[in-house]
Amino acid sequence: MDALDLTLEYITSDIFFRGAQMTLLLTIISVFFGIVVGLIIAVCQEINNKALNYIVVIYLWFFRGTPVLFQIIFVYNVLPQFGIELSSFSSGVVALALNEGAYIAEIMRAGLQSVGKGQRTAATALAMREWQVMRYIVLPQALRVIIPPIGNQFIGMLKLSALVSVVAVEELLLVANQAASSNFRYLEALMAAGVYYLAFTTVFMFIQRHIEIWAKGSRKRDLANVDVDTLNSTEHMETR
């Protein structure tokens, strides 16, 4: 059987397809919970509470200061000693999400801080309550800053998810490795896995590109009915 045929056979095989599904699932679930964790951390950082601030600092110190692989193995093998027993899939997701949260928190914080204090004060002076200021003034603007880099996190996570093969989650790379080690046809197995990875990253990049265009240009529609002198005065921002 020549290389191309075998590669194609792998790509279309059930086991590779399921591995790819698993990789995609791991990525999406981990980023999703990473966003939840990141949001909680970002809010804790904004709140003036010494104890909470300390916990956050330790959290970030640990998850940014150790390898992800270390964290995965830790969750899978060490936590059971403390009575927390997770399946290999859950262990993978927990470790990836906790690690991801440490980075997404930073993105969220940058987004929240992109909205100036003056605007918050103005909204407060208009009798808005704190949650209304958050909901109507801060978040809509912060999201434009937060969403594009989160697209990057998806791409990063897709690649990071291969690490959970270490705890025997049947994701794409583990499947490829197992296939290859039975017949030593590494080229074909890795090509098949590579095709899946590249297909996913291409789709993610495509989506991200569109979200970026949305974030930058969701106001273009409104420029259509602007008169000439305002257009001139806004030229500086359009030619950026």
Binding site: T124, A125, L126, A127, Q132, D222, N225, S233
Partner: protein, 253 residues
């Protein structure tokens, strides 16, 4: 009159001996001031004298450390959960406009009436367009703040504050961030509102405006009110040495 709390029938805001510190720095050192219904007060004074801090205490953006502030005879001092209710009645316009850049001019104006007061979208829009006419920028309702000149932005900000129908308007140096040619268009709007009977407190360095529009002029220095006089008297030179010195300085450039 300095020390005891005396409710005066004309006053809508009465500040009695209020004190405010930021850390070790005392910024308001026992300030008393009455703001009378339908009148316009202009506050002047050197940088750092506590003008902004004083009016920010009125709408509870700053919480005083001592003294009392009465609004319509009721104490508003103290940081309570109901601060926002006080702000329904006391609106503020800022030096740097602080429009919401993600919203159009009209949306800037209608947001708070809709979400705070629960006014319907149609009603809010209709009123918003009327307000834009009032501040003399009709046809800009769909422009975003960065498509407007500074003067236009400040007038939208005034309309945004008016949309809440406050009983008092506070202006904190409303023209200080503007190019000279735009100052007049903003001051004209404030003057018109004042002449229509809007109770106003205006912190400004525009002495011509003060002379034309103010009923009283208040001069602050080092966290104290040094002078509080009817406008004619203030500009006639019948004032304290400190106020005179300040006036000379500011009028000479």
């Amino acid at each position: 009159m300095e020390n005891d709390i005396k409710t005066s029938p004309d006053a809508i805001i009465e500040a009695h001996q209020i004190r405010k510190s930021f850390g070790p720095l005392e910024v308001l050192k026992g300030v008393s001031l009455n703001v009378d219904q339908s009148k316009t007060i202009v506050i002047v004074g050197p940088s750092g004298s506590g003008k902004s801090t004083l009016i920010r205490c009125f709408n509870l953006l700053e919480i005083i450390n001592a003294g009392t502030i009465l609004f319509e005879g009721k104490a508003i001092s103290g940081d309570d959960k109901d601060a926002w209710k006080t702000r329904l009645d006391i609106g503020m316009v800022f030096q740097n406009f602080e429009l919401f850049p993600h919203l159009t001019a009209l949306e800037n104006i209608t947001l708070a009436p809709k979400i705070v007061k629960g006014i319907s979208r149609d009603e809010a829009n209709e009123k918003g367009i009327k307000l834009l006419e009032k501040v003399r920028i009709p046809e800009k309702e769909n422009s975003f703040p960065d498509q407007l000149s500074g003067g236009q932005q400040q007038r939208v900000a005034i309309a945004r504050t008016l949309a809440m129908e406050p009983k008092v308007m506070l202006y904190d140096e409303p023209t200080s961030a503007l190019d000279p040619e735009m100052i007049k268009e903003v001051l004209d709007v404030i003057q018109q509102l004042s002449q229509e009977g809007t109770t106003s407190v205006v912190v400004t360095h525009e002495m011509g405006f003060a002379r034309r529009v103010a009923d009283r002029v208040v001069f602050m220095d080092h966290g104290e009110i040094v002078e509080n006089a009817p406008t004619d008297q203030f500009f006639s030179g019948d004032v304290s040495e400190r106020a005179k010195l300040f006036l000379e300085q500011i009028l000479s450039h």
